[in-house]
């Protein structure tokens, strides 16, 4: 039973990771500063719930006001396009992103 559970969990992780690659890394290459973005979100929104909400809100309706990037950056590259992902997938991707880069678990 334990083995089966472990197997399912490992599979799920791989699947999630691969879906993250497909849904996010397709556009954001691996050198995209995910950690820096997480720092900005954490600094502005504090808790996990608020951070996830803010990311979700931004990706659904991106605007210069909501962006955590510096003004100069937005001015040069513009605001990103709206996400094409459905809500459930988007939330799943945000969860993976938070899990991979959140600051809370990296404090020692």
């Amino acid at each position: 039973m334990v083995k089966i559970t472990l197997l399912i969990l490992t599979l799920a992780t791989f699947m999630s990771a691969s879906s993250f690659e497909e849904n996010c890394l397709k556009c954001h290459s691996k050198d995209f500063k995910f950690a820096m973005m997480m720092k900005k979100y954490t600094q502005n929104h504090s808790s996990e719930r608020k951070i996830k909400e803010a990311i979700f809100d931004y990706l659904k309706n991106p605007s210069a006001d909501k962006s955590v990037l510096p003004y100069e950056y937005i001015n040069r590259f513009g605001v990103k396009e709206k996400t094409t992902l459905d809500d459930a997938t988007l939330r799943e991707m945000i969860d993976i992103y938070y899990k991979m880069f959140n600051i809370k678990e990296r404090i020692y």
């Binding site: 950690a35 820096m36 720092k39 954490t42 600094q43 502005n44 929104h45 504090s46 808790s47 996990e48 719930r49 608020k50 600051i103 809370k104 990296r106 404090i107 020692y108």
Partner: protein, 382 residues
């Protein structure tokens, strides 16, 4: 020092001291509360400074780290950060605070300060600063100061009472001196009167003159009795007791005989029951004073043509009259010197004061049962 004087001193001292204590308590508790408040402000200021230090360090860690974030630690204080939803992010606290609602509070030995943070470095929206509270070492000082003030108040009040009572004391001394001097002058005339009356026989006078002579004798005996009391009071502390085994039955018989004329003048019946050879170890003069005083009081305060019952048993002596009696309050005050309740009778009110001093000296128990309009019963037991 008289009992009433002592009582006044105690009352005044009590009043003075209690008001002083109340004042001291109010002053010192206000001072203590002020000090507590002052410490609170001091602690708050220090904790606020620590919060600023923490915030600065958090900023440094947040900006300069990328993968791992080392939480800042300090020797002077401990800290924790909570996110905006009040979930704990990281803590070095020894004891977790029970709530984050109060900005500043004491919990156990520690004092806590909760500072809001913005921006949320490392996600921290609230910083909790914890440090050991500074002890307040003023209770010992306050107690010493209070004791000192009470001591000063005690000494001051003692002198104050003395000052207030001085006129009263001088009046009492004047009265004592007056009695003393009068007493010395009384001795010779009383002795002369009584000796001469004794020498006059019935053959020398007619019946009418004899009656008058009897009245003079009774009156003189009353004065003589009073004289004896006064001498006892004035010399009481100067003459040592000459204790010996006394035949109380004999003494009581003699004293009853001595008062027979006085009792007859009031048409009193003396119902005397004496057990023979009741022995008691005491000073003869003092025993006579004791019996005389109880007996003369009974005769003096009983109603005319009534019965006085005198009973002597091996370990008790009872005299019961049928006079006006006394109230409980009067009985309680009866042993005070110069206290008299029935102003219709003469006397200085020193009788019971003498009785008290003698019964106390010989460990005799005295019980006074009295009912108003019915009479008084004095019981001595030993």
């Amino acid at each position: 020092m008289y009992k009433s004087e002592k009582q006044t001193i105690f009352y005044v001292l009590g009043l003075y001291l209690s008001s002083t204590l109340l004042l001291i308590f109010t002053l010192f508790s206000s001072y203590y509360l002020y000090k507590l408040d002052e410490r609170e402000h001091q602690e708050k200021r220090v904790l606020k400074d620590y919060a600023l230090v923490l915030e600065e360090k958090l900023l440094g860690v947040h900006k300069n780290s990328d993968t791992r974030y080392e939480y800042p630690r300090f020797r002077e204080f401990q800290s924790a950060i909570y996110d905006i939803d009040k979930n704990l992010i990281f803590s070095t606290l020894q004891k977790m605070p029970k709530n984050l609602e109060q900005e500043f509070f004491f919990q156990g030995d520690n004092v806590y300060y909760i500072a809001p943070l913005k921006p949320y470095y490392l996600g921290g929206a609230y910083a909790v600063i914890e440090k050991k509270q500074e002890p307040l070492h003023i209770i010992g000082d306050i107690v010493i100061a209070a004791l000192l003030v009470v001591l000063i108040a005690l000494v001051t009040s003692f002198f104050l009472v003395k000052l207030v009572l001085r006129p009263l004391r001088s009046t009492l001394h004047l009265l004592d001196n007056f009695i003393k001097e009068t007493t010395h002058e009384l001795n010779t005339p009383i002795t002369t009167i009584l000796t001469n009356i004794e020498t006059l026989g019935s053959e020398e006078c007619d019946e009418k003159s004899m009656k008058k002579l009897q009245r003079i004798k009774t009156a003189s005996m009353t004065i003589s009795n009073l004289y004896q009391d006064l001498v006892y009071l004035l010399l009481n502390h100067q003459v040592a007791s000459q204790n010996q085994t006394l035949n109380l039955s004999e003494i009581v018989r003699q004293r009853v005989h001595y008062f027979l004329d006085t009792a007859n003048a009031k048409k009193l019946t003396l119902d005397v029951t004496l057990q023979d050879n009741v022995l008691f170890f005491a000073d003869r003069q003092k025993m006579e004073r004791l019996i005389d005083n109880i007996l003369s009081n009974a005769i003096k305060y009983t109603n005319k043509a009534t019965t006085i019952t005198i009973t002597l048993l091996p370990s008790s002596f009872v005299i019961q009259d049928e006079g006006n009696g006394m109230s409980q309050e009067e009985i309680n005050r009866i042993f005070e010197r110069y206290s008299r309740f029935d102003k219709t009778q003469g006397g200085f009110g020193i009788g019971y004061s003498i009785i008290k001093s003698i019964v106390d000296e010989y460990g005799i128990r005295i019980v006074i049962d009295s009912e108003q309009k019915k009479g008084t019963k004095v019981t001595l037991t030993w």
